[in-house]
Symmetry: C2
């Protein structure tokens, strides 16, 4: 069971002045919004709004008073000002690829969805300074491309990179497959532009790596999930390009072997080690079943697999040798049974597709219950060994689809329903998640490694924190958003909810 919700000293309640949805105040607000962004960019028709009120998982669905699509930072400010005057709360949305209901409205139909999707300008690329300045609505893959065109690397990489936006990545402090080498989103950002809850614009678009002139406001907004303001622009760090890769799909017996292999890889490849991902056989089988063209690269099935990649500059000639040394050492140490090494860019893409396709394949398979946990890496293997039987005891036939960023101690411990048992999974969901979160908390882990808390996990997040920590977070929230109109109920539970 979650621990009892801590006493809350500071109360945030969104002002709910929009009592009569058919009333004059709503029409006034819509008029103001149309003036701010143009009629074409205020959506209220059900069909137009539909794609903005349900998230990627399909689990989190709400209603919106309107969806507003501003085209500039000043238009965002005008929208926020209008909503504030009307007492309407605002739900910022990027590519709507979140997994915890953080970017979709609640069920009241009183919230305004503010989509950053029209703000897609790459403002500046400075390869010498190693920075790129972008609008919040630029799709992650477009940030990567703009960096590549300047001969640089923007390293963040996610399965959803073709549709998620950099603003959403920043708001959620996104992770992905390059965290091991380059860190989370917060380590890739130098400065932000933010529309504050009072409609003012904070211009913090500085590209300096050293600037000790006050509180780190940038890091406060990163990961705040739209609850403190709306990120409209960012200065991001660029890195030297890594056009050369050495990539392998490795069969390992268990998580303990994967963790030991990580140690070998770090020893042999040092800073060149850029990816170290894990997947269990169940995850691979779903991909093989549902991803067109996917095939098992190894002759024999294995309980677990690791995707390992080294990356380097054009002048780094030793990547293939280093990978071979890692694999040789792994076989000698009985850590790996077999491995497929990518011999061409196409083969590399095929190996990556096995890893990147898991989430989509699991969705196609049926009902899914997602968990995104971190454990201290030296406890990871024991945790996986212990949690499996607990899951089976709670719901017979439940299928753990376990994969993720083992190099960071981060697993997506997702459960697929027993075959034909989607409803059974839904019934058992709370018990399954509670068992997982309790064991993660007991092991000094995190119940949300990289997806954030959103609406789904806000109460759980608070329940596993101390009263002091929740109070601190509420104090920060109240200081920046005293009216509680920025994405209420996300990240922190509304008072009275649990």
């Amino acid at each position: 069971m979650w621990r009892e919700r801590p006493t809350v000293a500071l109360v945030i309640t969104p002002r709910a002045r929009l009592i009569d949805l058919q009333g004059a105040s709503v029409n006034d607000l819509l008029d103001h919004l149309r003036t701010a962004v143009g009629d074409a960019h205020v959506l209220t028709d059900g069909a137009d709004v539909a794609a903005y009120v349900v998230d990627w998982t399909g689990v989190h669905a709400g209603q919106a008073l309107a969806v507003v699509r501003p085209g500039s930072t000043s238009e965002v400010a005008a929208v926020v000002t209008a909503c504030r005057a009307a007492g309407a709360s605002v739900v910022p949305q990027g590519g709507n690829t979140g997994l915890v209901g953080g970017g979709v409205p609640d069920a009241t139909g009183t919230q305004v969805v503010l989509s950053l999707g029209r703000m897609r300008t790459v403002r500046e690329v400075d390869p010498v300074a190693g920075t790129i300045t972008v609008d919040a609505g630029v799709v992650l893959a477009d940030v990567q491309d703009a960096a590549a065109q300047a001969g640089r690397l923007f390293p963040m990489s996610l399965g959803s990179e073709g549709s998620c936006t950099i603003g959403g990545n920043l708001a959620t402090n996104a992770g992905g497959t390059a965290v091991l080498r380059y860190g989370m989103t917060r380590e890739l950002v130098l400065g932000l532009e933010v529309v504050l809850p009072d409609g003012r614009i904070w211009d913090g678009l500085r590209g300096l790596r050293k600037d000790n002139t006050g509180y780190d406001l940038t890091q406060l907004f990163v990961g705040s999930e739209g609850t403190l303001g709306i990120i409209t622009g960012a200065v991001l760090r660029l890195f030297p390009a890594t056009p050369r890769h050495a990539t392998a799909w490795v069969a390992v017996a268990d998580v303990a072997a994967a963790v030991a292999l990580l140690g070998l890889a770090q020893q042999h490849a040092g800073a060149h080690l850029s990816t170290f991902e894990i997947a269990n056989r169940q995850a691979l089988e779903l991909v093989l079943a549902h991803l067109p063209g996917a095939s098992d690269p190894l002759a024999e099935p294995s309980d677990w697999y690791v995707l390992v990649e080294l990356a380097g500059a054009q002048t780094d000639d030793g990547l293939d040798d280093a990978l071979e040394a890692i694999l040789t050492a792994a076989v000698e140490a009985d850590l790996a049974a077999d491995a497929a090494i990518a011999g061409s860019p196409a083969q590399r893409t095929a190996l990556w597709a096995l890893r990147e396709g898991i989430s989509e394949a699991q969705k196609v398979e049926g009902a899914t219950l997602k968990h995104d946990v971190t454990l201290p890496i030296n406890r990871l293997a024991d945790w996986v060994a212990e949690i499996g039987p607990k899951m089976a005891a709670t719901l017979e036939g439940v299928r753990p689809v376990t994969y993720g960023h083992v190099g960071d101690g981060n697993l997506h411990y997702n459960l697929s329903a027993p075959v034909g048992g989607d409803d059974d999974l839904r019934t058992a969901a709370a018990d399954l998640s509670t068992a997982i979160y309790d064991s993660v908390a007991a092991g000094n882990g995190s119940i949300s490694a990289e997806h954030g808390l959103g609406r789904t996990k806000a109460a759980a997040g608070a329940s596993y924190k101390s009263a002091v920590e929740v109070d601190l977070m509420r104090a920060v929230k109240r200081a920046l958003d005293p009216d509680g109109l920025m994405n209420p109920g996300v990240l922190l539970p509304l008072v009275g909810q649990s």
Copy 2:
């Protein structure tokens, strides 16, 4: 001139209830403090207090009601609670090596200095997880040593590492000579323990690299200079040890050549490049004059020098070759005139002493006016070329002692008085600093790269920021420290000051 101070919407004024310093309330407070930490650790005698009320520069001197030396986190909490009850403000102090008056009391004699100096326990070293957990009062060199004994590296390195404390490093987000490779202090910390202004303890001592469960409170406290709470413990990141080094002292013509040499060094050494420091001839001459045993490693004088170092694991055999390749390419490109390569650990130490000795040598030489600025690195050379004549025009004979972390765009642009003209420097100080800060601000730089704002630069810091940004910082301050009792006047100016 600094820009006009922005309008301040949120007012912080420290409660000043300690009106009569001889009164009963003071005696009550001292009694409570003695109960909290023991009689021996509440210092009020002038001689005992002296070392705690003047900072390293000698410029910032104040008076203290008392100096309190708690021995544990709970004692820190008790001291803060007692001070809060009495309305006394608290000035946290680590090794008292700050340069901007952030750790010494003001002149009123009403403040309590809370020294962390007795909290020196290394709580845990976990080489597998790559973490070390320490009390705030552990001296930086002792953190480095504890990591080294576990076969790991804690990379932060400063001239004052033998006496500064990790708590002070965290509170000021310290920089140093390893930022180029490993980042500022905020990039080296995973979790904190903090005594809050209300006396409660926030236990955020988590060692996870991925934990997206709310606002990043850790990063909020890092760099807050004791104004939001008192850091009492921290979980820090450890890195693979780098026992091998290749080090050179290189003569370059100017800052532009140094920046170009940096590009070459990055190209040839990649992730092995760990240090890239600059110093002008004036800086070296002061060291040669005042540091016993120092000698010029090169036959001919040069206007500027670079200290470059590559560092690697025991297995990294190519460091010497890479350094030679850098220097060969530099000579071919006319970027370097000469270089001395350290052929032994003793020679390496001697080269480092030339760099690390500058600050002390300049202090011995006489009156010094310090500036710690960042410029975008591609503007650095022009800035140095332009600011010199402005300084000379303001004060004839003033001697720029310019050195610092050129790889980070960060220069310590310090001025020594004209020979025999200490008083002249003091008279011209405001004009000189204003000219420097104005030109830095105009060039999108920072007026404090790594030293923080402290008491000295709080007003200047606010004057170069937008009203929105100052309001945000004041909102954060008020949220966490509503009574304004934590290090008031540091980082943010008191209202009415400028």
